[in-house]
Protein backbone atom coordinates (compact mmCIF):
# COMPACT_ATOMS: atom_id res chain seq x y z
CA UNK A 1 0.00 0.00 0.00
CA UNK A 2 1.21 3.46 -0.91
CA UNK A 3 2.36 5.36 2.18
CA UNK A 4 0.79 8.59 0.89
CA UNK A 5 -2.52 6.94 1.71
CA UNK A 6 -1.62 7.05 5.36
CA UNK A 7 -1.43 10.83 5.48
CA UNK A 8 -4.55 12.55 6.79
CA UNK A 9 -4.98 16.33 6.61
CA UNK A 10 -7.36 18.47 8.69
CA UNK A 11 -8.30 22.07 9.24
CA UNK A 12 -8.45 22.74 13.00
CA UNK A 13 -8.50 25.47 15.63
CA UNK A 14 -5.41 24.15 17.44
CA UNK A 15 -3.88 27.60 17.42
CA UNK A 16 -1.97 28.36 20.60
CA UNK A 17 1.04 26.67 22.23
CA UNK A 18 -1.36 25.71 25.03
CA UNK A 19 -3.62 23.94 22.53
CA UNK A 20 -0.61 22.09 21.15
CA UNK A 21 0.42 20.91 24.62
CA UNK A 22 -3.10 19.72 25.20
CA UNK A 23 -3.48 17.71 21.98
CA UNK A 24 0.10 16.46 22.27
CA UNK A 25 -0.92 14.49 25.33
CA UNK A 26 -3.72 12.81 23.41
CA UNK A 27 -2.03 12.27 20.04
CA UNK A 28 1.37 11.18 21.37
CA UNK A 29 -0.28 8.53 23.50
CA UNK A 30 -2.42 7.12 20.69
CA UNK A 31 -0.92 3.80 19.63
CA UNK A 32 -2.30 3.94 16.10
CA UNK A 33 -0.83 7.38 15.30
CA UNK A 34 2.69 7.10 13.85
CA UNK A 35 3.38 10.78 13.48
CA UNK A 36 1.55 14.11 13.69
CA UNK A 37 2.17 17.83 13.52
CA UNK A 38 0.24 21.09 13.40
CA UNK A 39 1.33 23.86 11.04
CA UNK A 40 0.90 26.81 13.35
CA UNK A 41 2.18 29.17 10.68
CA UNK A 42 -0.98 28.46 8.67
CA UNK A 43 -4.32 30.21 9.16
CA UNK A 44 -6.10 26.86 9.08
CA UNK A 45 -3.87 25.38 11.83
CA UNK A 46 -3.50 22.33 9.62
CA UNK A 47 -3.15 19.04 11.47
CA UNK A 48 -1.25 16.33 9.59
CA UNK A 49 -1.49 12.80 10.87
CA UNK A 50 0.26 9.67 9.65
CA UNK A 51 -1.55 6.51 10.59
CA UNK A 52 -1.81 3.14 8.88
CA UNK A 53 -5.04 2.21 10.59
CA UNK A 54 -7.07 5.29 11.49
CA UNK A 55 -9.62 6.89 9.19
CA UNK A 56 -10.31 10.65 8.99
CA UNK A 57 -13.48 10.19 11.04
CA UNK A 58 -11.46 8.63 13.88
CA UNK A 59 -9.25 11.72 14.13
CA UNK A 60 -12.25 14.04 13.95
CA UNK A 61 -13.88 12.10 16.83
CA UNK A 62 -10.69 12.20 18.83
CA UNK A 63 -10.33 15.97 18.47
CA UNK A 64 -14.04 16.56 19.07
CA UNK A 65 -13.75 14.75 22.39
CA UNK A 66 -11.09 17.31 23.29
CA UNK A 67 -13.43 20.12 22.21
CA UNK A 68 -11.47 21.09 19.11
CA UNK A 69 -12.87 21.77 15.66
CA UNK A 70 -11.51 19.38 13.08
CA UNK A 71 -12.54 19.02 9.44
CA UNK A 72 -10.86 16.90 6.82
CA UNK A 73 -9.13 18.73 3.96
CA UNK A 74 -9.21 16.74 0.76
CA UNK A 75 -6.79 16.98 -2.14
Amino acid sequence: MNSLDHILIFKTNISTPRDITFVKDVLDKHELIDEWNVDQADVDCVLRVISRHLKPADIIDLLSECNYDCAELTD
Binding site: D42, V46, R48
Partner: protein, 196 residues
Protein backbone atom coordinates in the same frame (compact mmCIF):
# COMPACT_ATOMS: atom_id res chain seq x y z
CA UNK B 1 -4.84 4.56 -3.54
CA UNK B 2 -3.25 8.01 -3.72
CA UNK B 3 -0.46 7.99 -6.33
CA UNK B 4 2.48 10.37 -6.15
CA UNK B 5 1.71 13.15 -8.64
CA UNK B 6 5.01 14.41 -10.05
CA UNK B 7 3.31 17.16 -12.06
CA UNK B 8 1.71 18.60 -8.95
CA UNK B 9 4.97 18.36 -7.00
CA UNK B 10 6.77 20.20 -9.80
CA UNK B 11 4.09 22.92 -9.86
CA UNK B 12 4.32 23.33 -6.07
CA UNK B 13 8.11 23.66 -6.16
CA UNK B 14 8.19 26.05 -9.12
CA UNK B 15 5.52 28.33 -7.71
CA UNK B 16 7.08 28.31 -4.22
CA UNK B 17 10.43 29.43 -5.65
CA UNK B 18 8.72 32.07 -7.77
CA UNK B 19 6.64 33.41 -4.87
CA UNK B 20 9.60 33.65 -2.49
CA UNK B 21 11.75 35.22 -5.23
CA UNK B 22 9.14 37.88 -6.02
CA UNK B 23 7.53 38.53 -2.65
CA UNK B 24 9.96 37.36 0.02
CA UNK B 25 9.58 34.94 2.90
CA UNK B 26 7.28 37.04 5.09
CA UNK B 27 4.37 36.94 2.67
CA UNK B 28 4.74 33.27 1.84
CA UNK B 29 1.93 30.94 2.92
CA UNK B 30 0.66 27.49 2.01
CA UNK B 31 -2.82 28.71 1.09
CA UNK B 32 -1.53 31.29 -1.35
CA UNK B 33 0.94 28.79 -2.76
CA UNK B 34 -1.86 26.28 -3.30
CA UNK B 35 -3.86 28.84 -5.29
CA UNK B 36 -0.85 29.83 -7.39
CA UNK B 37 0.12 26.21 -8.11
CA UNK B 38 -3.46 25.18 -8.89
CA UNK B 39 -3.60 22.49 -6.21
CA UNK B 40 -5.50 22.19 -2.94
CA UNK B 41 -3.70 23.02 0.34
CA UNK B 42 -4.19 19.38 1.37
CA UNK B 43 -2.11 18.26 -1.61
CA UNK B 44 0.80 20.37 -0.39
CA UNK B 45 0.48 18.90 3.10
CA UNK B 46 0.62 15.40 1.68
CA UNK B 47 4.14 16.03 0.42
CA UNK B 48 5.39 18.47 3.05
CA UNK B 49 4.83 18.52 6.82
CA UNK B 50 4.46 22.28 7.05
CA UNK B 51 5.70 25.57 5.63
CA UNK B 52 9.09 25.14 7.28
CA UNK B 53 9.55 21.64 5.90
CA UNK B 54 8.57 22.81 2.42
CA UNK B 55 10.93 25.80 2.37
CA UNK B 56 13.79 23.78 3.86
CA UNK B 57 13.38 20.99 1.34
CA UNK B 58 13.00 23.30 -1.66
CA UNK B 59 15.95 25.49 -0.74
CA UNK B 60 18.19 22.46 -0.23
CA UNK B 61 17.13 21.01 -3.56
CA UNK B 62 17.64 24.30 -5.39
CA UNK B 63 20.99 24.74 -3.62
CA UNK B 64 22.16 21.35 -4.85
CA UNK B 65 21.01 22.16 -8.37
CA UNK B 66 23.04 25.38 -8.29
CA UNK B 67 26.06 23.52 -6.86
CA UNK B 68 25.93 20.87 -9.57
CA UNK B 69 25.75 23.51 -12.30
CA UNK B 70 28.63 25.42 -10.74
CA UNK B 71 30.83 22.34 -10.51
CA UNK B 72 30.00 20.88 -13.90
CA UNK B 73 33.23 19.84 -15.63
CA UNK B 74 35.34 21.14 -12.75
CA UNK B 75 38.20 19.10 -11.33
CA UNK B 76 40.29 20.23 -8.32
CA UNK B 77 43.47 19.04 -10.02
CA UNK B 78 43.02 21.57 -12.86
CA UNK B 79 45.38 24.52 -13.12
CA UNK B 80 44.17 27.60 -11.24
CA UNK B 81 43.37 29.48 -14.44
CA UNK B 82 41.44 26.62 -16.00
CA UNK B 83 39.52 25.76 -12.81
CA UNK B 84 38.54 29.34 -12.06
CA UNK B 85 37.44 29.96 -15.66
CA UNK B 86 35.18 26.92 -15.62
CA UNK B 87 33.58 28.22 -12.43
CA UNK B 88 33.07 31.64 -13.99
CA UNK B 89 31.40 30.08 -17.03
CA UNK B 90 29.23 27.82 -14.86
CA UNK B 91 28.24 30.50 -12.36
CA UNK B 92 27.36 33.01 -15.08
CA UNK B 93 25.36 30.34 -16.90
CA UNK B 94 23.35 29.53 -13.77
CA UNK B 95 22.75 33.16 -12.82
CA UNK B 96 21.85 34.32 -16.33
CA UNK B 97 19.52 31.40 -16.99
CA UNK B 98 17.96 31.24 -13.52
CA UNK B 99 16.86 34.74 -12.60
CA UNK B 100 14.17 33.34 -10.36
CA UNK B 101 16.51 30.88 -8.64
CA UNK B 102 19.03 33.65 -8.06
CA UNK B 103 16.35 35.98 -6.65
CA UNK B 104 15.11 33.09 -4.47
CA UNK B 105 18.58 32.73 -2.91
CA UNK B 106 18.74 36.50 -2.37
CA UNK B 107 15.52 36.31 -0.36
CA UNK B 108 16.83 33.41 1.71
CA UNK B 109 19.81 35.47 2.83
CA UNK B 110 20.12 35.60 6.64
CA UNK B 111 17.25 33.12 7.13
CA UNK B 112 17.44 29.74 8.86
CA UNK B 113 16.70 28.14 5.46
CA UNK B 114 19.88 29.59 4.05
CA UNK B 115 21.89 28.09 6.91
CA UNK B 116 20.41 24.64 6.34
CA UNK B 117 20.96 24.92 2.60
CA UNK B 118 24.58 25.96 3.05
CA UNK B 119 25.12 22.98 5.35
CA UNK B 120 23.76 20.67 2.65
CA UNK B 121 25.76 22.10 -0.22
CA UNK B 122 29.03 22.77 1.61
CA UNK B 123 29.79 19.05 1.74
CA UNK B 124 29.33 18.85 -2.04
CA UNK B 125 31.47 21.92 -2.59
CA UNK B 126 34.13 20.65 -0.23
CA UNK B 127 34.26 17.31 -2.02
CA UNK B 128 34.63 18.87 -5.44
CA UNK B 129 36.76 21.88 -4.58
CA UNK B 130 38.91 19.78 -2.27
CA UNK B 131 42.47 20.78 -2.78
CA UNK B 132 41.96 23.27 -5.65
CA UNK B 133 43.25 26.31 -3.75
CA UNK B 134 45.83 24.28 -1.87
CA UNK B 135 47.24 23.00 -5.18
CA UNK B 136 47.27 26.49 -6.65
CA UNK B 137 49.34 27.73 -3.69
CA UNK B 138 51.60 24.68 -3.75
CA UNK B 139 52.22 25.04 -7.49
CA UNK B 140 53.15 28.68 -7.02
CA UNK B 141 50.14 29.95 -9.04
CA UNK B 142 48.68 32.13 -6.27
CA UNK B 143 49.73 33.43 -2.86
CA UNK B 144 48.22 31.99 0.29
CA UNK B 145 45.47 34.35 1.40
CA UNK B 146 42.35 34.34 3.59
CA UNK B 147 39.43 32.60 1.90
CA UNK B 148 37.30 35.77 2.09
CA UNK B 149 39.97 37.78 0.27
CA UNK B 150 40.25 35.13 -2.43
CA UNK B 151 36.47 34.94 -2.79
CA UNK B 152 36.02 38.71 -3.05
CA UNK B 153 38.60 39.03 -5.79
CA UNK B 154 37.76 35.81 -7.62
CA UNK B 155 33.98 36.16 -7.91
CA UNK B 156 32.69 39.63 -6.98
CA UNK B 157 33.69 41.16 -10.35
CA UNK B 158 31.65 38.51 -12.16
CA UNK B 159 28.66 39.06 -9.87
CA UNK B 160 28.84 42.82 -10.48
CA UNK B 161 28.70 42.30 -14.25
CA UNK B 162 25.70 40.01 -13.88
CA UNK B 163 23.95 42.46 -11.55
CA UNK B 164 24.48 45.26 -14.10
CA UNK B 165 23.11 42.96 -16.79
CA UNK B 166 20.03 41.99 -14.78
CA UNK B 167 19.32 45.63 -14.02
CA UNK B 168 19.93 46.50 -17.68
CA UNK B 169 22.20 49.34 -16.71
CA UNK B 170 25.54 50.03 -15.07
CA UNK B 171 26.91 53.17 -13.46
CA UNK B 172 24.98 56.38 -13.98
CA UNK B 173 22.16 54.57 -15.79
CA UNK B 174 24.38 53.59 -18.73
CA UNK B 175 22.84 50.75 -20.74
CA UNK B 176 24.58 47.47 -20.13
CA UNK B 177 24.37 43.97 -21.44
CA UNK B 178 26.55 41.01 -20.45
CA UNK B 179 28.75 39.34 -23.06
CA UNK B 180 31.27 36.51 -23.11
CA UNK B 181 33.88 38.97 -24.39
CA UNK B 182 33.39 41.26 -21.39
CA UNK B 183 33.45 38.29 -19.05
CA UNK B 184 36.74 37.10 -20.51
CA UNK B 185 38.25 40.60 -20.27
CA UNK B 186 37.21 40.90 -16.61
CA UNK B 187 38.50 37.40 -15.92
CA UNK B 188 41.93 38.34 -17.25
CA UNK B 189 42.08 41.27 -14.80
CA UNK B 190 41.10 38.93 -11.97
CA UNK B 191 43.81 36.49 -13.01
CA UNK B 192 46.31 39.36 -13.04
CA UNK B 193 45.26 40.34 -9.52
CA UNK B 194 45.44 36.82 -8.13
CA UNK B 195 48.43 35.41 -10.02
CA UNK B 196 51.78 35.39 -8.33
Amino acid sequence: MRPRDENKIRAIKEKAIEMVANEGLDNFGINRLAKAAGVSPATIYIYYKDKDDLLTSISQEEGLKMTQTTLDGFDPTMSFREGLWIQWKNRSKYMLNNHIGTAFFEQLRSSAYKEKMVKTISAEFQKAMGSFMENAVKNGEVNKMPLEVYWSIAFSPLYSLIRFHNEGQSLGGKKFSFSQKLMKETFEYVMKALSK
